[in-house]
């Protein structure tokens, strides 16, 4: 496997790249504040006609030990024993049905030797949990799935994905990796703590939460946010929910995507079923960093091979908590893997991965989700 990484600060940096191999694929994690993303993508596609381009918008780009804003984190990879295929699905053409979109993508990618699907999705109108269910539906259990939902700083206004030479919203793009010799590692850990009383979800529809213990959910959130209530939905990232129900005996974390003042409702990145139990969560910087490290240890130990390339998809909520200390978690991960690994990734609106290699893939929030490849 050959890997080349470049931090793109300006459109012109395209010409400064000096690759000594012809890449199969470019992974592009682009800030919404980078000027000229579309032009860059189009020029890059022109320049490397045979390469696949896959990427998305972020709430922060990760490259090496650095967490950046207003850049494109570019990683070019040439796989030696792995074939690649990129497929995309338009959410609008699926009537915004995330389950159907997921099913369509894995249907398109299905084939002999398919080992892994790396999926990047629009981060606002998608229901991540349904997307994961759809991806799984007709897929053999030996195929692993990881990825994330695109970010938009902490603005929650517009996200996009990069697929081929296109930059578009309301789309899902996925990379299929076909190989008998690719080894894949993954893990997902948070480090958040639940606090306060356990609350019963008394009214909800899919990922829209209306009432907790018979009280309007939005009022409860606002009371906990205090002064920060005016910054919703962004400030809602400080209060993810830990949710357990019949499907999720291990509690999963859910973060807020948007709010509806009129209906008093909150929309989450994943389903909050009626009858499930939720607790508010709080962050502690040390434990968050510890969570990232733990995630790296699990990913590292999930395969014996020397890891060559790692994708770090971390939640925007973590970044808001860590602020100036955000790089600490990236460094903690890199320390676990050692210096022979190339690292990239982004701060996302949702992470997709199994907890470990023994559990099914689910949508996470507030985690550091790691995927590693080696051949």
């Amino acid at each position: 496997m050959k890997i080349y990484q470049h931090k793109i600060l300006h459109l012109e940096d395209l010409d400064k790249m000096d690759l000594d191999f012809i890449p199969d694929v470019f992974f592009l994690f682009a800030s919404p504040t980078f000027i000229g993303t579309e032009e860059f993508v189009s020029k890059l596609a022109d320049k490397f006609e045979n390469a696949n381009l896959i990427g998305c918008s972020t709430a922060g780009e990760i490259l090496g030990n650095e967490v950046m804003d207003s850049t494109i984190a570019l990683t070019a990879v040439k796989f030696e024993k792995t074939k690649l295929r990129i497929e995309e699905v338009d959410l609008v053409s699926c009537n915004l049905d995330s389950f159907e979109a997921g099913k369509a993508i894995s249907g398109k990618l299905k084939g002999p030797d398919l080992r892994h699907i790396f999926v990047l999705s629009d981060g606002l109108i998608v229901n991540g949990a349904e997307l994961v269910k759809g991806l799984h539906r007709d897929l053999d259990k030996s195929v692993s799935i990881t990825g994330g939902l695109a970010g938009d700083c902490s603005n929650f206004e517009n996200t996009f994905v990069i697929s081929g030479n296109q930059v578009a919203s309301k789309k899902i793009v996925a990379l299929g990796l076909y190989s008998s010799e690719l080894s894949i590692g993954f893990a997902s850990k948070g480090g958040w703590d639940s606090f306060g009383i356990e609350r019963l979800v008394t009214k909800s529809t899919d990922n829209v939460l209306y009432e907790l213990d018979g009280q309007p959910a939005l009022d409860l959130y606002k009371s906990f946010l205090g002064e920060l209530a005016k910054d919703l939905p962004g400030s809602g990232l400080l209060f993810p929910l830990s949710m357990r129900d019949e499907d999720n005996q291990i509690p999963v974390v859910r973060t807020i995507l948007s709010i509806d003042e009129k209906k008093g409702s909150l929309t989450f990145a994943g389903n909050i079923p009626q009858g499930s139990y939720v607790r508010l969560m709080k962050a502690n910087i040390d434990r968050i960093i510890g969570g990232a490290e733990q995630s790296a240890v699990i990913a590292k130990n999930s395969t014996k091979d020397q890891h060559q390339l790692a994708f770090l998809i971390s939640c925007v909520g973590r970044r808001l908590v860590m602020k100036q200390l955000v790089e600490e978690e990236v460094e903690a991960v890199n320390e676990v893997f050692g210096d022979k690994i190339y690292t990239t990734g982004f701060y996302s609106y949702g992470e997709i991965a199994p907890f470990d290699k023994f559990s099914p893939c689910t949508l996470h929030n507030q985690t550091m989700t790691i995927t590693t490849f080696s051949e």
């Binding site: 606090f195 306060g196 009383i197 009371s223 906990f224 205090g226 002064e227 920060l228 602020k323």
Partner: protein, 588 residues
Amino acid sequence: MSNNYHRLLKRQLKKIDLDDGTLDLITPLLRLVNDAYMAYDRDMEQVENVLEISSQELFQANQQLKNSVESISGQLSKVAGNIKDVIFEMDLNGNWSYLNPAWRKLTGYMVKDCLGKPYYQFLKDDKGNDFKDLIDLKTHNFSTISKSFKSQIITGEYKWLDFSLKVIMSEDGKIEGYIGAIVDISKIKETELALIEAKEKESMANKAKDEFLTTMSHEIRTPLNAVIGISHLLILENPKMEQMENLSTLKHSSEHLLCLVNDILDFNKIASGQLELENRDFNLNQVLNGLQSIFHNSAKEKDIRLLVKKDTSLPKMFIGDSTRLSQILTNLVSNAIKFTEEGKVMVDIEVLGVEGDSYLVEFVISDTGIGIPEDKKDKIFLSFAQANSDTTRKYGGTGLGLAICKRLLEIMDSDLKLESQVGKGSTFSFKLKLQRSGVTDYQEDANAFDVKSIHEQDNLKGTRILVAEDNKVNIMVIEKFLSKWQVDFDIAENGLIALNKAMENTYDMILMDLQMPVMNGFEASKAIRESNNPLNKVMPIYALSASTGMDTKNQLGKYGIDGLICKPFNPTELFKTLTSILQQKYVQ
């Protein structure tokens, strides 16, 4: 220095008092520090807010819990206080840890005086000793205990208590104590004991009644035997016309009396649940032929046609109780003839269904008689009841017949049905599930007698029969018949004489009364079977007895007796039976 800096940073910069050049140099650092301070403040404020709201919520939740605990324990203590039975909790050492107010009402002890003290100080056995072994406190080898016992209370009175106890387990499976209840069952116990006593009395009374009936029936049957036998004999001896009428009345009356005795005995047996059904191979044709032969004459006398119709698919041999089936049919046909002045009485037997060897057979007995009014239809099945009070006067009968038929059919899992129209006739019907028998009946043809002429036949001529009988009248009756049938017979007045005669002479069969002085029929039969004469081992010995119970029948085999002929006997039946026994003997 920026005035927007965090006040802590401003304070720190003031203290350190840097020159403007240095300040400019470190401005980017100062900005970061300032951001961090500001963010820290906001975070602190946020955390305080969260803490405050969380505390409020927890406080409220705690209040709610307290309230509900109070209201639940209030409800529970109300329930426990008003319950009639004692509810208790006990620690591992058997000391009361809770007792509800019912404890005081039951035992007289104050609850507060008992708490913390061992249970056995308050529960004493009927000798006043502590009930220490009620619970095995050392091994805990139980999960629940339920015992009833008599215990002394504070006043010295005794009460019957139902004591139940259950182990209280902690979540990790350790025994924490016991919970249980004590119920005062003194009243129930008293009732139970009274019931047992009453039951015993009742069964004693029943036994006495049964014994009385059995003895009575035996005592009545013996003289009846003589009356019936002699009336038969007199009729056969060509009496004058005016004598004939008296003799007929005598004969019918004696037969009616016998019928009455039999019915009362049967009814008593059914009512006391003693009736056992036989399950033997029998020939249905024989039962029907018997029916015809019994009623041939009485039907003819009234100029009524008696018809028996059989389904062609009806097998000859079944398994069941032919005696009881015969009894039912006889009763129903007898009634039909009795209440019919002109027309016919028909017995129709139809196979309704076959399943393997199991036949569903319907018996329909219809007549063209007086019929039964609608409002009397239920009443006639009651014991000692007839449709009209003057029926007995006009038609005779005991009023037990139909009740017996109905009860017998109920025992056979069937039911007696009735359709009737006043003035047009009655139809009684019942269905029986009968098992077909695999046995073929070789006796059937041999048993076909010409009923009318049996007294003229010489089947028994010259046969040697020993009759053991102690009753003089009975001896006279049987002597007369046997002589008439030209039988060569000896009479033995008791069992011992019978035994001696059997040793000395050779007989074709022995008729043995069972109750005789000196040596009874059972002993005599046994001795005869065990005697040296080899012919005595195979010679038929039949009991001739008024005891007809199943007990007697079951005992016969043990003493080497081949069968039972009931007294009083119908001479025709006796003739047929003797002929059949002797023919079988020769067949063998």
